[in-house]
């Protein structure tokens, strides 16, 4: 029983990391209708920004935390301007966006290797490593914090999207870009805002990831899991991204705990495809007709 509970805690904690990554992903998808593969690269940059602010510049943690999120927001907007907006002007099909995003993610990963080097780096210890213990169960402090931050980010995002004017404009743009442009929404600005928000979340995810694990140039690769989680939950749906992430992580954890750790991903993928067959739009996605 304790092992099962511990596995559940493990799953929730891994899931909240996936979720933090998946939300930014899904947000960009809901407007742009393409999978922004460069998101992983931006998360990696966030982890490095945070690391350098804390170690080299010796800034206090909250400053480094917010600072790196702002920097990644700028980076995400810069990528949008350089790699996506020329494509948007030509109305290129989504395939080209994906390829351009892949180019960007190859570029981001390797520029770090070429300049800073391939070595992984360790965050200074800000929060005590020793977990809370309930009986023989261990709950990491950082896990709780990541869980809380994921929840706060999601609530803030839902607030912005549902209750502010900008949010309304984002929703309108997501629903129909052309029509909302005709109705006087400055869609170019909205797209920049969305990328900035996505980049901000990526920065937070990066710093959290770096603190919990470590910082290295291939962090982007782990976001493939959050991408899958976002599809699982339904692309373009923010609550879907969170629920998909948590579910995916819990399933993975229980699979490696009780079935086979060697074939964990196989079972997770089979389940994903199973869900897609029954619900082709994911758990909480928009109907497929919207995106056709």
């Amino acid at each position: 029983m304790t092992e099962f509970l511990q596995q559940l805690i493990n799953g929730l904690s891994i899931g909240s990391v996936y979720a933090l990554m998946a939300v930014g992903y899904s947000l960009v998808y809901s407007i742009m209708n393409f999978s922004n593969f460069a998101h992983g690269g931006v998360i990696m940059f966030g982890a490095y920004f945070g690391y350098f602010m804390l170690t080299v510049y010796d800034l206090p943690f909250p400053v480094a935390f917010i600072g790196s999120a702002i920097l990644t927001a700028l980076l995400a907007v810069a990528i949008e301007r350089a790699a996506y907006s020329p494509l948007r002007e030509r109305k290129a099909p989504f395939l080209y966006f994906i390829i351009s995003a892949m180019g960007a993610s190859i570029f981001l990963e390797n520029i770090i290797i070429a300049t800073i080097g391939p070595t992984f780096r360790t965050y200074p210890q800000i929060f005590p490593k020793e977990p809370f213990r309930i009986g023989s169960l261990a709950i990491g402090r950082l896990d709780l914090m990541i869980f809380a931050i994921s929840a706060i980010c999601l609530l803030l995002l839902i607030y912005i999207i549902d209750y502010t004017k900008i949010g309304k404009a984002i929703q309108a743009t997501a629903y129909n870009t052309k029509a909302s442009a005709l109705m006087g929404v400055n869609t170019a600005v909205i797209i920049i805002i969305v990328f900035a928000l996505g980049g901000f979340l990526a920065g937070i995810a990066g710093v959290m990831f770096g603190m919990k694990y470590t910082v290295y140039p291939q962090i982007g690769a782990i976001t493939i899991k959050s991408f899958i989680a976002a599809v699982f939950g339904g692309l373009g749906s923010l609550p879907g991204a969170v629920i998909g992430s948590i579910l995916l992580a819990v399933i993975e954890t229980l699979t490696s705990g009780y079935l086979s750790s060697q074939y964990r991903d196989l079972i997770a993928f089979a389940l994903l495809i199973g869900v897609l067959i029954v619900r082709p739009m994911g758990l909480m996605g928009k109907t497929t007709e919207d995106k056709a």
Binding site: Q7, G117, A138, T214, G257
Partner: protein, 389 residues
Amino acid sequence: MKKKAFVLLCVLLVFSLALSGCGQKSTSTGAANDTIKIGWMGSLSGDQAVWGQCEFDTVKMLVEEANAKGGILGKKLEVIGYDTKGDPQEAVNVAKRLTGEDKVVAILGPNASGNAIPIAPVLEAAKVPDIATVATNPKVTVLDGKVKPYNFRVCFIDPYQGAVAAGYAAEVLKAKNAAILYDVGDDYSQGLTQFFEDYFVKSGGTIVAKEGFKSGDVDFRPQLSKIKATNPDVIFMPYFFKEVALSANQARELDINATLLGGDGWPSEQLISMAKDAVEGSYFVNHLDFDDPEVQDFKARYKAKYSKDVELNGYLVHDAFLLLSDSIQRAGEVNSEKIAAAIETANIKGITGKIMIGKDTHNPEGKDAAIIKIVDGKYVFQQKFAAGK
């Protein structure tokens, strides 16, 4: 305008392709008389880049030093190194480029077995010897009972390393139950796991858990929670230090107190900086004792030049270079076939130990493994340990 730029880009590409082809040839004929070209290959990008970078830096440093002393056979050395990204297909391309375009007399590296195995046919066609650094898969030099004529290495092999780790756990640490956590997608990790398991069971122990993860994973708590329930004496962790640091930290977080045991993927300054408390009291199998007086000189030279610490690969590529320069000297001329023949009969003393190449295995024979214990964040040499008696 943009169209023009694009056409220009393409034209440029074609030209640079053509030029790079021509340029290489003219230098190789012109310079072949007064320089000896040696090749290096390894990962400069990808997840193994840390080691590749250190290897290449070491080779460059050693070549500079050798040239300052007048070179070998009165000729200057020149090293040409390329990135393999850790990808077998790239390794074959690099081997073809080094042998076909750059006309090197011998190649040092690569570090990964998966890259050292597929280049064998290229070496045989070009008759150029290769000395692998930490490629520990037996099949690098011997396939189906036949030794590959141009493949050599300076490290011990997986069966030996796995047996040493298992033997030390069973005989010295008196462990009865062992758990294994390994990387399913990694050849090195799978190899060590297999031989550790074989030998540990043969020594009368039991493998109570064998859990896998996939390359690139960062969270091992699901597997560790399962391992914890089986209550092992030791946990064997045959993978590289990044994952070791993460999994060791997570194991301690889960209140697992078993002794951790590892292979030559462990040693690194990074491991200590990231998981000092978690790996305290752990053991690993190594190629050498870092505090051996023999290696201090090299360590200091490297540190002075690059102002960072040398990684394990640096020591092995140092010996690979030593082996090669000794063999070129004994061959007496810059001829890759004669050099290969000279490597086959080499018997030198390197900083990682005695290197006597076995004729039927092309491995350094009788190289003992060093057992290192981590005490107070330092790598403390325990003993030389030979297994398989």
